[in-house]
Symmetry: C2
Subunit: 230 residues, 2 copies
DNA sequence: ACTGCATCGAATATAGATACTTGGTATAAA
DNA sequence: TTTATACCAAGTATCTATATTCGATGCAGT
């Protein structure tokens, strides 16, 4: 049988996924030194694959390498928060304008589908499950909108900024998802966004998108200050 | 003496620079398999540092990794050429609009300085030197314009697309720099661009920038077709 | 001609050797 | 007495070399 269930994934690639997840989830603090001995123990891997994974994360700016002095988790700061969200909002605005120019009927349908799935979340057992489900569907909704631009490379660049922002966004998620009031506001913003998009009002839609994406900034600033991360 | 002149750069980082250079310069063909034995021999390094360098290049999409089957140079295609240049033109347009909103007097001065340096190239000994000098100054000119957006992360994303496009751009360079006619046209486009930027006409400037950045596409398409790279 | 087996080559991982940095302590000078 | 510097020891990153595993190719046998 050639249908082997184990495609034998390269250990470096697995190490990459696990490390990325642990960094964005805050298992490793910003600025923290990533000791090879610790990582070896935690993931049960040799140094080689770990160095490979770390090299990739350096390229994605989630980890910084200091020559001959090992690796550290990239630091977080209020300045980076502001710039990262601004850059992302501007880029997403551009992508949305292009999507409105270039998107077809299937694109519109996909947006409506994802918006519906997002707005109707029920039957969740635990708060953590709510967070996971809402987050997944929220991402899917925004990705559906962006995909209309039909440019793989713009979408790739969008992904890259998204990965960098994820650590900050994670701080915001807990504050938002567990507040019925905040959740309701998001619901309204999304509905308004969909409406303007379907009317193909590019300029207005881009403005709304930029504004929508900037709303978490004050909240995250507050959380970071409170926790002394700034 | 603590002033050691050798900061003892990690071999992985050097390997990264050399490999990147050799890939963008076409020493390794698109799609070509990167044999560890070959690389070891060529750069005089062990496998470890090479794997590190390759991992970073994978994150930058210049190399693709096939699990358990080593690494290959990322393929080139007409489809990627078109999308890459489109994405870059759109992004650069956005950045220019922001730069015109946000740039100060020092920014304007820097643009004028770089434009002047670019337009007055003389005293070159060889054609290859002309290519190098012109390319360096051309990049500096465009970077000076972009830097006005004051967003490190947008500039970082711009760099990333630029690195990906460099292989294609290199094909175009030889066709343009060695033609006095093409060079003169570029000179005029740059002058017109500077004029509109200094007048702070954001919309018009962005349009011109997008158009300016798309001009190499037909030429590169022609070269690729001629050489059977498509 | 096709299938199964063996051999070869390449990628991957681990383990060990080397060289660097860092923190502490002791000594000397102010 | 205090401060600064130099030296020493422990820990850590980095590299090279070796072993293992996986895939591919060629040959032989049916």
């Amino acid at each position: 049988m050639t249908m082997d269930s184990s495609p034998r994934q390269n250990l470096g690639i697995s190490a990459y996924s696990w490390l990325k997840r642990d960094i964005t989830r805050g298992v490793f603090q910003p600025g923290e030194k990533l000791l090879m001995s610790r990582l070896k123990e935690r993931y049960g891997l040799g140094i080689g694959p770990l160095r490979e994974a770390l090299s990739q994360l350096v390229a994605e700016r989630l980890v910084v390498a200091i020559s001959q002095r090992g690796y550290r988790v990239a630091p977080m700061s209020l300045a980076e928060l502001a710039d990262l969200y601004d850059a992302r909002a501007q880029l997403e605005g551009l992508i949305l304008q292009l999507a409105i120019e270039r998107g077809d009927d299937a694109w519109e349908a996909e947006i409506l589908a994802k918006a519906h799935t997002l707005s109707k979340i029920m039957e969740v057992n635990s708060p953590d499950e709510l967070l996971d489900v809402w987050d997944t569907r929220h991402k899917a909704f925004h990705t559906a909108i962006a995909s209309g631009c039909r440019s793989p490379h713009l979408l790739q660049v969008r992904e890259s900024l998204f990965d960098q922002v994820e650590r900050y966004r994670h701080l915001w998620l807990r504050e938002t998802v567990f507040s019925e009031e905040a959740l309701e506001r998001k619901r309204q913003e999304h509905a308004a966004l969909v409406e303007v998009i379907l009317e193909r009002r590019a300029e207005r839609a881009a403005d709304m998108m930029r504004e929508h994406l900037m709303t978490p900034v004050p909240i995250i600033t507050e959380v970071m200050t409170r926790r002394g991360l700034a």
